[in-house]
């Protein structure tokens, strides 16, 4: 019960003039060191890549409508299609998308005026467009065919020159990711207000911190692997070529030492989002706050010890059991999060906003992806379904059912803060319905065809699988359509949505204790955080939120007709 007298009262007058003064759209196309602009730049760029990658997924599903090769010219063309789909979704969509929310929200949640290194922040973002051009150019020149994992010798002896460009692009994206992560770690450690100890920090910041620690420790291994791949492709070395004393398993070891932790880079921030959204929209404190924060660190740590489970069929047999055990251990911190989220919403005053729906969608889908993950960790089962659609199903459950649902939850949750206007809730619910049903019927049946033996990464398949594949493809088209709904909603709401006000969700974290959108310096005075970022349901928190509402009430209706 520390101070509940909110020091925001004096701001009212100043806020009024600044309210809903949004940056001009042209500012988003220019170099800017404002973390809020950079956050939106990341977000819009990543979403564009999501649409491009999604369109490619639609093509993949169109090809798989029939057992024969019909849409694509050749098997090789199909190979390059799923290669670029995976590459775009992982390197150009999910990782930058979390940088978007991290950039926009983390400094605000910490009450900071900007990130620790604003210039570096902008530079990290502006590495992405050229990297994307390089990768996409490769696709049109002479495409890579080796999948996003680019195993040699496929990627050294068979793939086209696009593979070289792919490696260069991935290099740039890795460097961008490292610079962004250094920025996040320094910001989170150094720039919190004096009242906010690390144990009072919002859980999104915990998750971004864990993510950034993984990124700075693991991404250099990707840089190492890509350097070797480039040398093998252009300089005639034989690091991956057994004929010259090299070893193809070398790539798998180094690459997965990066890429397995990288899957936590892709999902941990989503878990942070979930803690925020579930707590705010069910009006209850996060259950087991410390355990949620520490389990992020636990996942980050254990994540470094499991990489070889991607190599169960190529690894020395005696190493399989240890990696099977570490892989199963990682279900423990993830399970802690699951139970604490359930404990959070249990008995809460749940408001089924679109953000909440997507968060609950994440809960139900991620748990399926988690369970199929434990199944895959079991060595005998993994050998059986290795490289089948079961694996495809598993990682889409965690990366789409997990990460993308969390992206949508975050979008509906923070859109009012970013733009000052609310999203359309009715469209949001329709969007959720299409996404959830489309997703479930796209990816759940893949478990079945996978266990029946349909291999992944093939354009032709046995005729007996056709009914399953038609169900999957049809649902995939529904899923593809659902993203058009959210695009329409975002554009419509940006111009015509209801004015949000400072704190439409009555949330306690600091990003809501300023105008929407926040002024250039984020806060007019240094904000004082509430004693507990999730202390909902107490009189003190109600008093704090009322004081915030009062401080900004003059600001909200001032805009009226809209600019």
């Amino acid at each position: 019960m520390a101070t509940i007298a909110v020091p925001l009262g004096a701001q009212g007058e100043q806020q009024e003039t600044e309210a809903l003064r949004r940056p001009a759209l042209s500012e988003y196309l220019r170099w800017s060191v404002d973390h809020k602009i950079i956050g939106v730049q990341y977000g819009v760029a990543a979403f564009i890549f999501f649409i491009i990658g999604g369109a490619m997924a639609m093509l993949i599903r169109l090809e798989l409508w029939t057992p024969d090769l019909d849409v694509m010219i050749s098997g090789a063309a199909y190979n390059s299609l799923f290669t670029i789909h995976g590459t775009i979704m992982i390197f150009l969509f999910i990782i930058p998308m979390w940088a978007a929310f991290g950039n926009f929200v983390v400094p605000l949640q910490l009450g900071a005026k900007d990130m620790a290194f604003p210039w570096l922040n902008a530079f990290a973002f502006w590495l992405i467009p050229p990297a994307a051009v390089v990768v996409l150019l490769g696709y049109f020149v002479s495409p890579a065919e080796a999948g996003w994992t680019s195993y040699p010798p496929l990627s050294t002896l068979f793939s086209g020159d696009g593979q070289t460009l792919w490696a260069l692009g991935a290099h740039l994206l890795g460097i961008s990711s490292i610079m962004g992560s250094i920025n996040f770690i320094v910001t989170i450690f150094n720039m919190r207000p004096p009242e906010m100890t690390i144990w009072r920090m919002p859980l999104l910041c915990w998750a971004v911190l864990a993510t950034s620690i993984i990124a700075v420790m693991a991404t250099p291994f990707l840089a190492g692997a890509l350097t070797l791949l480039l040398l093998d492709r252009v300089a005639g070395t034989t690091f991956f070529d057994a004929a010259g004393g090299g070893d193809v398993l070398l790539w798998q070891n180094i690459f997965w030492f990066y890429s397995h932790p990288a899957v936590y880079i892709m999902v941990l921030p989503g878990m942070g989002v979930l803690s925020e959204v579930l707590s705010v929209h069910s009006r209850k404190p996060v259950f087991g706050y410390r355990m949620v924060g520490l389990s992020s660190m636990g996942i980050a740590f254990v994540g470094f010890t499991v990489w070889a489970h991607h190599m169960f069929t190529s690894l020395q047999p005696e190493l399989r059991i240890p990696f099977m055990i570490t892989t199963m251990i990682i279900a423990v911190p993830t399970g802690i999060k699951m139970f604490s989220w359930l404990g959070t919403i249990w008995g809460g005053k749940i408001r089924f906003t679109s953000a909440m729906l997507f968060a609950i969608g994440f809960l139900s889908l991620f748990v399926i992806g988690g369970i199929s993950g434990v199944m895959l960790a079991a060595l005998p089962f993994d050998i059986h379904v290795h490289d089948t659609y079961f694996v495809v199903s598993h990682f889409h459950f965690v990366l789409f059912g997990g990460s993308v649902f969390a992206v949508y939850a975050a979008l509906y949750h923070w859109f009012p803060k970013v733009t000052g206007r609310m999203m359309n809730e009715r469209l949001g619910r329709i969007h959720f319905l299409f996404t959830y049903i489309g997703f479930l019927f796209t990816f759940f049946p893949m478990h079945v065809v996978g266990m029946l033996g349909m291999p992944r990464r093939v354009a032709v398949y046995v005729e007996a699988f056709q009914p399953w594949n038609q169900l999957i493809s049809f649902s995939a088209f529904v899923l593809g359509f659902s993203s058009l709904i959210v695009i329409y909603n975002v554009i419509k709401s940006y111009y015509h949505g209801p004015i949000a006000g400072a704190n439409p969700w009555r949330a306690l974290t600091l990003e809501w204790q300023t105008t929407s959108p926040p002024p250039a310096t984020n806060f007019v005075d240094d904000p004082i955080p509430f004693e507990d970022p999730y202390g909902y349901g107490t009189e003190a928190s109600a008093a704090y939120l009322d004081a915030v509402d009062e401080a900004f009430s003059g600001a909200a209706p001032a805009e009226g007709g809209g600019h």
Binding site: A116, F117, I178, S181, I182, N183, I185, V186, F189, N190, M191, R192, P193, P194, E195, T197, I198, W199, V216, M217, A218, T219, P220, F221, A223, G224, A225, T227, L228, L231, T237, T238, F239, A242, G244, G245, G246, D247, L249, L250, N253, I254, F257, D526
Partner: protein
Amino acid sequence: MTSTVHQGQKPKLGVAEMRLKNNRLGMTIFQISWIMVFLALIVVNWQLRFSYNEWPPAGVAPFDPLLPSAATLSLLLSSLLIKRGLDALRAQSPRGFLMRWRGAMALGIAFMAIIVYEFASVSDAAMATQYGLTMRLMTGFHFVHALAILAIIIRVYRSGAAGRYSGDEHDSWAVEGTAKLWHFVTVAWIMFYVVLYWIR
């Protein structure tokens, strides 16, 4: 990680203090992060050894560690002089700073000259195996970093010669940061030196 550091209420830092604190932590994290690439290359070296029954492979003469040891000593002294130069600047002795950095640059260039010589004189027999390939990979990769950071040292030295830095730590981050980068190059090299020349 450092939860205890942030316990208790501390006064808000000024802009200059905050910038220095951020720069220092950022540099530390960068060092921890980027050393991982060098570790990755050590893993590469290590795993490729298993392709052969013996190391160096049969018919390949092992590298002579004499010159590389001299190079390593030179780099260590260079790194030490860089640090002593920073200390001199902090002690309000700009001339001592410049003098020591001249020595550090000379020793650094000597190090790099030996490395270039070693890189160029790998035998064809060695290059036909991973013994020579990984050696060139590692020394080459390290050389690129040494060269880039030497360029930064020269640039900072010229600014120093123009009297741009006072002894105040808020005013001379460029000197401190550059010194830390050179220490990074030194540590990375010592790891490589041990793996390449002493672990058989």
